[in-house]
Each structure stands twice: as C-alpha cells, then as structure tokens.
C-alpha cells in the first residue's frame, strides 16, 4: 500500500493505493491520523483501492470518528463498485459521507 496526500488551506486529501485489509489497514489508519493535524476537511480518495475488508472498514470508521472529534468533515470519494458492495452490505454507505 502506498499513500499519497496533499494539504491545501485546511483541506487534507489522502489517496491510498492498493488493498485495505488486515495487513495494511492499521498502517493506513496510523498514517492518516498522523497527517490530520488541524485539518478542517478531509477527503479520502479510494480510486486506487479495489479491496476493503472488515479491517479496512474499521480503519475508515476510526478515521471518521477522529475527524468528527476535531469537527472536520470526512468525505470518501471514487469508491469502486466492489468496495461499494462491501459498504452497502455493512451499512457503511450510510455511516460514511460518500461523494
């Protein structure tokens, strides 16, 4: 997994590439939390992610909570169909802000 990010005027954009699974999700969560700073809004661009397991969902939920704690809105963008299926079957399509 690689993680690209950009920061501009309080907006943090994070673009992971690869799988969000049991092995990679903890690292993803830790790296993004380290980038949060005092961001006012966060975009998670999932265009490079074609696989999300329950470990990936937990990481996304944890980031969602961390953003809420600092009053930042977290949006999840460019969700692949296979990943959207996972969001739908777990109700995460209602929990996360999908754009």
């Amino acid at each position: 997994m690689t993680i690209q990010h950009t920061q501009q005027e309080g907006r943090l954009t994070v673009k992971p590439e690869g799988r969000l699974d049991t092995l990679t999700a903890p690292e993803f969560e830790k790296e993004v939390k380290a980038l949060l700073g005092d961001a006012a809004s966060v975009e998670i661009d999932l265009s490079g992610v074609d696989y999300v397991s329950s470990a990936g969902l937990r990481a996304l939920l944890s980031l969602h909570k961390a953003c809420a704690a600092q009053k930042a809105d977290m949006e999840v963008l460019n969700v692949a169909p296979a990943v959207m299926d996972v969001f739908s079957m777990t109700g995460f399509d209602k929990v996360l802000h999908l754009a």
């Binding site: 699974d21 049991t22 092995l23 696989y51 397991s53 329950s54 470990a55 969902l57 937990r58 939920l61 944890s62 909570k65 296979a82 299926d85 996972v86 079957m89 777990t90 929990v95």
Partner: protein, 136 residues
C-alpha cells in the same frame, strides 16, 4: 477439481491463500464477482482462525464444481468456530455504532452456505458459493 494448500496460521500467509483460491476459481471459470466475494470471506475467516484458534497450521481445500465452489479451512487449534468470534472494538463507546461482528456479518452476506464441525482434534470450516451470482 480440488486444490489444497497448507500454510502456517499466520496473517502473513493470507495473500498466498487468497491467491490460491482465486486461481482455483478462475481456472474453473467462476465470475469475477464470485471470486471477489470469496477473497473477502476468506480473509475474514482466515484472520479469525489465526487470531483466536491457537492453531499452528491451516489446510485450505478448494473444491470447484459445475454449480458451486467450496473452500474448507481445517486447522489444528483448539475447538473454535470462526463464526463465533470477532475482534473487539477497543475504541467503541456507548454512542458509537457497534462494529463487533462486522467480519462475520460480511461472511454471511458474501457466501451461500457455511458450516463448522469439530473432527477429532481438527476444526473444519466450510464456505460454499454458488457459481451464479445473485447480485451480478
């Protein structure tokens, strides 16, 4: 056709197991949607066995047929049904959405049949998937 692999019960072996399952299903011309679901269900089950069964080895057998494919996980751990356990969410608080059971919930959604039995000193867990994906 049957394909079998035995691996150490360690998370680092997950991708080897997923590759084997995917190759077996691809060889039997199962659609990509079924292969994706199998990979996801495999992760949830394999991780639970690694984390909670106290097993040293897991043997995975993939059986492909005309209408269904089954993947059997046999491990040498203590009696443990992967459907019964889930990593606790140590960050959960009262107002938070409960996330315990997420992986298990996914396995039930992703597969068409699940069974567990204890045979002697071996846990045998099988998931079955239909070739025809109800949600293409």
């Amino acid at each position: 056709m049957t394909t079998t692999i035995t691996v150490a019960a360690q998370l680092s072996c997950l991708s080897d197991v997923q590759s084997l399952i995917d190759e077996a299903l691809a060889a039997a011309e199962f659609p990509a949607s079924v292969r994706n679901r199998a990979a996801l269900a495999c992760e949830e089950i394999f991780v639970n066995i690694c984390c909670y069964a106290g097993a040293t080895e897991i043997t995975i057998r993939v059986l492909t047929g005309a209408d269904t494919a089954s993947v059997t996980f046999a491990d040498d751990g203590s009696a443990f049904d992967p459907l019964s356990a889930e990593a606790p969410d140590i960050e959960a608080s009262a107002e938070d959405r409960p996330v315990g059971g997420l992986g298990i919930h996914m396995v039930r959604q992703l597969t068409d049949g699940l069974s567990y039995r204890r045979t002697g000193t071996t846990n045998v867990f099988t998931m079955t998937m239909n070739r025809k994906d109800p949600k293409p």
